[in-house]
């Protein structure tokens, strides 16, 4: 009986090791150290400019839908997210307001009175600045790493949010602790993966880029 239990435990451990070996990730030994280094980097970064490639995987389609665009961030909480292919769509979050420009026209909203945009702002800036990792109440967080990156898995605590998102995965480049990838996994396995490329930190981004004119 003892032998059987030992075998079962060994089997489980082996399986767990195999999974992380296949992904190349192992648990971070000192998550606290990673978080405090991330916070230091976040304080030092005033602006981020980047291109992004968004891949949408739907189980009903054999292929992925690809969108491309550019992203700009300026402290505090000024975000410009612009899709350029295959459609034009621009969203600017700044000064407590949201500006959206799309094919059919333009709209502005107040963040305070619009819960959906308020949550979106919190989520995007939280992911980019790493603040989302402080939200222990909002997410169950797992820290993993391989040679090149830290890989953080966040499972929403809220049942309502879990109906929309099973898991959020954020990859940080070990070289500079900036976000390289955000993946939003839905129940059922469909996902949206946003990869940031051509990143530039602390460049001079004019304030006009976040204005609504």
């Amino acid at each position: 009986m003892h032998r059987l239990i030992i075998l079962m435990v060994l089997n489980l451990v082996t399986c767990a090791l195999n999974v992380s070996a296949q992904d190349g990730y192992v648990p971070v030994v000192d998550a606290g150290d990673f978080k405090s280094r991330l916070e230091s980097v976040s304080e030092a970064v005033q602006t981020i400019e980047s291109d992004f490639i968004q891949e949408k995987k739907l189980s009903v389609l054999a292929d992925k839908i690809i969108s491309k665009g550019s992203f700009s961030f300026r402290k505090q909480n000024n975000i410009r997210w612009e899709y350029t292919e295959p459609y034009r769509y621009l969203i600017i979050l700044s000064g407590g307001r949201v500006f959206i420009s799309e094919e059919s026209g333009q709209n502005q909203y107040d963040l305070e009175s619009n819960r959906m945009f308020r949550e979106m702002n919190r989520f995007i800036s939280g992911c980019i600045q790493g603040d989302i990792l402080k939200d222990d109440a909002g997410y169950h967080i797992e820290y993993l790493e391989n040679e090149k990156e830290y890989f953080v898995k966040l499972v929403p605590s809220s049942r309502v949010l879990r109906e929309m998102l099973n898991e959020v995965q954020i990859a940080f480049d070990k070289a500079d602790l900036t976000v390289t990838r955000i993946t939003m996994v839905e129940p059922g396995g469909d996902y949206t993966k946003i990869s940031f490329v051509n990143k530039k930190l602390n460049t001079d981004i004019p304030v006009e880029k976040f204005s609504f004119n």
Partner: protein, 220 residues
Amino acid sequence: MKNLVLTSILLLFFGSCAVSLFSECQCYDRTETGWQEASLWFQNDDSYSLFNATIDIRKNHYTGLMVMNPLPVDGHRVIFMTEFGLKVFDMEFSSAEGFNLYYCMAALNRKPVIKTLRNDIGLITGNERADCPPSALCNEKAGETVYKFKINRNRYYYTVDNETLKISSVLQTSPLFKKVRIEFYGAGGNRPDSVTLEHYNTTLIIKLAHINGIIKTSDE
């Protein structure tokens, strides 16, 4: 005097109603055969269609991408998602298994809204259509034939271009009132270049514009 006022009101009332539709058309004996020759959009497609989509429901405005993927046998899976990739709704129209709602975001997940979206998307994709034979009205001047179907209390008027045999518009009415109008714009092929759907009695507008999406073959 009272009778005159009443008659005027009644004339105004009926004039805006379904009864006076297609007054320029003539009844025509070209019924089932003509309809069978007509070509519903999306019904012969063998791959997905990707649209830039906007849906305005009352005061809410949703934009994003709409994917229409044909099912192996007959029907479509229709997924509407925001630009950021988050699903707004995911529904399936299957001839074998009927209608299935896989997902709908909380803000829209109410029976009347689902019922309306099912009706509207079903009409656009041609999945909600009549099996009974139509009657036909012909407008030779405009080069169109209008096929009329009755299903329970509703009437459906499909306007077909006599030359291309493509459906240019669909009108859904009750016995007295117009309900929904859909306009299809396209040069030909299995999918339209754009679609506009509008309700008469509530604020619901759906606009689709076909885009050539960048699709990457899965390399996982």
